[in-house]
């Protein structure tokens, strides 16, 4: 009985894989590896929206597939290899922790192209892409300084990696450009995704007297808490307005779709090259959710800042900037290079926290 089942199943499998091969021949297969669930309301959802836009834009020319909830480590390597073997021409690996696994698989499959989000290792068939999230955080900082009556904001942070530290610094610099005495309290949740913990962190910050919340974690729980306690907050990665219609001021929305479309078009044209992309507001890889729940003058200021960042007139990390320990980091008028930002491991003055080292 068992044998029969196996042989039956095996023949079904052959049939199935044959039909799959036939339809794949004239389509370009584009694949995605997600670290979280595609409906997480944050980081992974933003990537999956990008994938859907890609499908919509290129229609019959592409076929996409994805694997979700892939843990970082050896499982990631297997998942990426599975993609490479299943006929994917271009594989997007969408979490920093997939970096080394992507590098390993890329060296094994030189004909397949890979793109890794937020990492720093490249190869002839491996490109990286990232977004200048900090630009949006600068605008948030300015809004926070205008909207806060107490002059203190709370920041729910995930892990002390450069990406997150950069965001915190950009936020406080934005705030200080409006109110030089603005303070920021940080709580490290040590998780990207734990609604309970994020909610508790939000409550703790509010109890400590902050009246604006921002988060670099992925669930909407902090937004819900802010709504309940009647303070304002910023969304992260996806537009979180549904969780706080009267609470969200704006959100940094990752809009990967445009980039995915551009890169897949390059692949189809044969012009795909390995590069390290780090784009921001002006390239549309990152957009601000509508400015809501704020007076018109604040909105006007936010829009003006956004325009200045887009035109290149304003760089959030422009001197004079002092580090938290009082030493000078950037001289007056000096703009930070990308290098120090990508390895950022210090706070600027005004952050009421000690950076975990």
């Amino acid at each position: 009985m068992k044998k029969l089942l196996i042989s039956f199943a095996a023949s079904a499998a052959v049939l199935f894989s044959m039909t799959a091969a036939a339809s794949a021949a004239d389509k370009h297969k584009i694949c995605f590896i997600y670290v979280g669930s595609k409906t997480d309301g944050g980081w992974t959802q933003a990537h999956d929206l990008g994938r859907q836009q890609l499908e919509k834009a290129l229609g019959d020319k592409v076929e996409t597939s994805y694997l979700e909830n892939i843990p970082e480590g050896p499982d990631a390597e297997r998942a990426i290899e599975r993609m490479a073997r299943s006929g994917c021409e271009l594989v997007f690996t969408t979490s920093f922790g997939f970096m080394d696994a992507t590098v390993k698989v890329a060296s094994k499959f030189p004909k397949v192209k890979f793109e890794h989000a937020t990492g720093y290792k490249t190869a002839p068939n491996l490109a990286t892409y990232n977004s200048r999230f900090y630009e949006g955080r600068y605008i948030q900082g300015q809004i926070a300084a205008k909207m806060s009556t107490k002059g203190v904001a709370g920041y729910i942070a995930s892990f002390p990696i450069p990406e997150v530290v950069m965001g915190i610094n950009s936020f406080i610099l934005g705030a200080q450009s409006v109110n030089p005495d603005f303070k920021l309290k940080v709580v490290w949740a040590n998780t990207w995704f734990d609604p309970g913990k994020e909610a508790d962190a939000a409550k703790a910050l509010i109890d400590q007297g902050v009246d604006i919340l921002t988060q670099h974690t992925d669930t909407t729980a902090p937004m819900q808490v802010a709504a309940e306690r009647g303070i304002k907050a910023f969304g992260q990665a996806s537009d979180m307005i549904a969780a706080g219609p009267k609470t969200q001021l704006t959100a940094i929305v990752d809009t990967w779709g445009a980039y995915y479309i551009k890169r897949v078009n390059a692949l189809i044209d044969g012009t795909w090259k390995s590069e390290g992309m780090w784009d921001g507001l002006k390239d549309g890889i990152l957009t601000m959710a509508p400015y809501t729940n704020m007076p018109d003058d604040v909105k006007a200021m936010a829009e003006a800042t956004e325009a200045k960042i887009k035109s290149g007139e304003l760089h959030p990390f422009t001197g004079p900037v002092k580090k938290q320990d009082g030493t000078e980091w950037l001289k007056a008028g000096e703009k930070s290079e990308d290098g120090p930002l990508l390895g950022m491991n210090f706070y600027v003055a005004g952050v009421d926290d000690k950076l975990p080292q």
Partner: protein
Amino acid sequence: MRIELERRPRLSKFFMAASPLIAFAMTIVAGAIMFAALGKNPIEALDAIFIMPLMEVWSLHELAIKAAPLILIAVGLSICYRSNNWNIGAEGQFIMGAIFGSILPVVFYGWQPEWLLLPMLIMGMIGGALYAAVPALLKAHFNTNEILTSLMLVYIAQLFLDWLVRGPWRNPEGFNFPETRQFAPVGVLPEIFSESGRAHWGFVFALVAAVGVAFMMKYTLKGFQISVLGQSERAGRFAGFSSRGMIWFSMLFSGALAGLAGISEVSGAIGQLRPVISPGYGFTAIIVAFLGRLNPFGIVAAGLVLALTYLGGEGAQLSIGVSDKVTRVFQGLLLFFVLSCDTLILYRIRLVFSGKRAAEGDAA
């Protein structure tokens, strides 16, 4: 109608052999029903999960990679569970083994003798054993429940690793990203057949451990002690066996194997320490231990089957678009069916169709 159990005069040989097969068949049937309910073709889905991963060589290598830590940990746990020591903190011991084993390649990075792997593996075992010594000490001398202490220590180990790789052990050339240096080539566990795939020697360790434990249980006094104390602490005491000694032995032994699994995984499959090095191997291994009915060879088979559900679940997600949660559901179902079928080894099951609900007391 109700179900009554009747103890068999002796263990049923037939069901000892047949129970895992029946359980597996029941899981398949339940799985087929589940897929049908989800609107997927059950045959296609089952094929993707249980057959396809076995059809390609690279995928067999992946199976070995995934099964190695599960088997290694579960073999150690079987000793604990047979002697009634409920170590469920293998995940923490796995992590501590990985940390201890990584001291040489990370802290003493410049020191790269040819034989570096040997002390790494030994230190990994020591690390795991030391971490298991905590619940052992607390149970043996303070009478503290080891289920809970070993579990609490898992969370502490995870956070400790997290702190290490973000703090003192962070790669100085890694842009502050949370990971240690890549181990030097002398610190990397080699692949077994490197031309066909990346399975490393961890799988061999797992098989050796299984054979070793099988030998110990069958031919040594220690093995006899384990079974006697496990069946009845009183009987063991009359025989002059120390249950306190057994707590120490079984916990340290399983801790050492979990630690070995940890360092093998880190030096073989990952090549560096990262904030998360295990997708819950220490917990899944508990299922493996029970699926294998605490028998070393059963555990090897069970470890392979569980590894198959991981690989297959992933394949099915890709080929027919079923949810990745299917893997867990299958694991849970399989364990449930095995546990229920195992009842048949010790008992005969009778359905009693009697109208009057006899009190359990006078059902004799």
